[in-house]
């Protein structure tokens, strides 16, 4: 399916102006499922730690296509579309679990598959007492499940439907892979999951995770306690257009920048007015030598990895139609965490997730946008902070990463 004319991008818009229709069109959504999620992209499936043993499996999605990721008896990781080759029933019906015998049986007629998705058993294939059964020319090999190409990159499992998707490292780019490896530097331990259902288009959230500009203005808790400020030392990095890294060091502070900020008289800075009754919340540990206290790694289209203070998490973006997406948070630490550090993480999780003191507003912001753009689909937003190029910068006062997102998006979508 080629891109319909009436969906084409405004000629002059480039990557600094996005027509609102892109966030509110069923047609665009359908096209995204084909060109993005079914196309040349790597999608987050699971942390390897979520499927630790032979027979472990997890149900998830690529876009809105249900997919199961498994660990075979050969200890390899596989994935396939969660749809029986017989008459289309969902095969795996739990979120995660373990298949002791490594067999995945559809409940409807008990066709049985292995972890690879190959068809192993068809009840009554040869009939009963010579009656019925499948045709002689029926070949099980021709009736496996639709498989997904999988890679396990430093403990993070990705999948793609396309054979043309470049290898994972070239896909993500140098800085993104560096930061992924930085966080995944040793075995992790899954600490739990939460799920948020947000009534906004998934791309508003993609923008949000590439937007250092909002961080110091929307998240007042964040800003007030100096966990992050655009005036801090940090960087905004674009890799391959639509992937990005944001990092900052809360210690450092550029005084001049801070003064400039204060000039703006924003409701951002409430320092003094506002003190924690229980400061233990922010008593963290400096666990990385580079002194970086905040990293937002945004790997298009479905993964955000984060370090904020001592909190570590995967955020998986699952589109659920043009005006909703699910955000799945998977929180983790390291296998070798001291009990003290583990408790620090558990307490600091108050900062992130659906009730996160500094992250709850991100979901809110996507809903604010979705509500406001129901009409005027041909009008556009304005993405010009720090210029008009789809590039990063050595600071946090830019929308360059968002411009990168839209440049890459237009290419993929054939807009």
């Amino acid at each position: 399916m080629s891109t319909p004319e009436h969906l084409k991008w405004p000629a002059d818009a480039g990557c600094t102006a996005v027509p609102y229709s892109v966030f509110n069109s069923e047609e665009v959504y359908e096209l995204e499922q084909e060109k993005i999620y079914n196309g040349k992209t790597w999608n987050f499936l699971a942390a390897e730690a979520e499927i630790p043993d032979k027979g472990s499996f997890k149900s998830t999605y690529i876009g809105d296509t249900p997919v199961v990721v498994t660990r075979g008896q050969d200890d390899e990781i596989y994935a396939w579309v969660n749809r029986c080759a017989h008459r289309g029933a969902e095969i795996c019906r739990e979120r995660h679990g373990k298949s002791e015998d490594g067999v995945y049986t559809c409940v409807y007629h008990q066709w049985a598959y292995d972890a690879k998705g190959d068809l192993r058993g068809v009840p009554f294939q040869r009939g009963l007492a010579g009656k019925g059964g499948m045709p002689k020319d029926f070949d099980k090999k021709q009736h496996g499940l639709r498989t997904v190409r999988v890679v396990n990159y430093h403990g993070v499992v990705f999948g793609t439907f396309s054979d043309d998707t470049p290898d994972i490292e070239s896909y993500m780019g140098e800085d993104v892979s560096h930061h992924l490896k930085r966080i995944m530097n040793r075995p992790i331990e899954i600490l739990g999951t939460t799920r948020q259902y947000i009534a906004g288009n998934w791309k508003f959230y993609s923008e949000n995770t590439k937007d250092p500009y909002h961080a110091s203005l929307l998240h007042l808790f964040h800003a007030t306690f100096g966990l992050y400020r655009s005036s801090q030392k940090g960087e905004s990095i674009v890799n391959n257009d639509f992937h990005s890294i944001l990092w900052a060091s809360s210690g450092s502070e550029d005084k001049v920048a801070l003064d400039d900020m204060k000039k703006d008289k924003l409701r951002t800075l409430q320092t003094g007015e506002y003190e924690l009754h229980d400061p233990s919340l922010l008593k963290g540990q400096q666990e990385f030598d580079d002194g970086v206290t905040l990293v937002i790694l945004s790997l298009f289209p479905s993964l955000v990895m984060q370090q904020i203070q001592n909190t570590l998490a995967f955020r998986q973006i699952l589109p659920k139609g043009k005006d909703a997406f699910e955000l799945v948070w998977t929180y983790f630490g390291y296998k070798d965490d001291s009990e003290e550090l583990r408790n620090i993480r558990l307490k600091q999780f108050n900062l992130i997730g659906p009730g996160g003191l500094i992250s709850m507003e991100d979901g809110e912001s996507t809903e604010l946008c979705q509500k406001a753009i129901v009409r005027d689909g041909s009008r556009t937003n304005v993405i010009q902070m720090a210029g008009k190029e789809p590039v990063g910068d050595d600071h946090l006062v830019t929308e360059g990463l968002i411009r990168g997102l839209w440049k890459g998006y237009q290419d993929l979508m054939g807009f």
């Binding site: 899954i190 007042l220 409430q270 924690l276 558990l346 307490k347 659906p354 709850m360 809110e364 912001s365």
Partner: protein, 160 residues
């Protein structure tokens, strides 16, 4: 375990549960921390984590101070749309009472109403409480809201 409690105690426990719900529903959040002891544990936990032994909570406060900080934050820092809760609390059961700690369990349903005026089933689950007497008044030493509703719509800012 047999229920060794007097009707008076039972009624007192119910009053605590009810007053707590009313405090939140009436948006009297500044008073909410006063339902807890100084040293306390308040958690909102997804049942799917709880059942497999994973510790992550949406909100995790282990001191009255942290409860107060939550209230300050939602009043002065956090950004969210106007929303009202309505708690329906059901079948409280006193599971044990050793003369000191009262272990209580109850079911709850919280309905959320935003500006569009629709009341939706926002969060259902059960409270697991440890209640003690503090200067003559019953307070929560521990209160865990273990929720079934994994799908949290938009965000969770007001305590359950």
């Amino acid at each position: 375990m047999p229920n060794v409690t007097t009707p008076e105690l039972k009624s007192e426990v119910e009053d605590l549960l009810n007053a707590y719900a009313q405090c939140i529903d009436d948006d009297d959040l500044e008073n909410w921390p006063n339902f807890f002891t100084e040293q306390c544990l308040y958690r909102i936990i997804p049942r799917e984590n709880h059942e497999v032994g994973l510790p992550v909570a949406v909100i995790w406060c282990d001191s009255k101070g942290m409860l107060n900080d939550r209230v300050t934050a939602l009043r002065h820092a956090n950004v969210y749309q106007v929303q009202w809760y309505r708690h329906i609390i059901s079948n409280p059961r006193i599971l044990s009472f050793d003369g000191d700690e009262i272990h209580v369990q109850s079911n709850y349903a919280v309905f959320k109403t935003c500006n569009d005026g629709e009341s939706t089933v926002y969060n259902v689950g059960r409270y697991v409480d440890v209640i003690v007497r503090d200067n003559g008044i019953l307070k929560f030493k521990e209160r865990s809201a273990i929720y079934d509703t994994h799908k949290i719509t938009t965000l969770m800012v007001i305590p359950i």
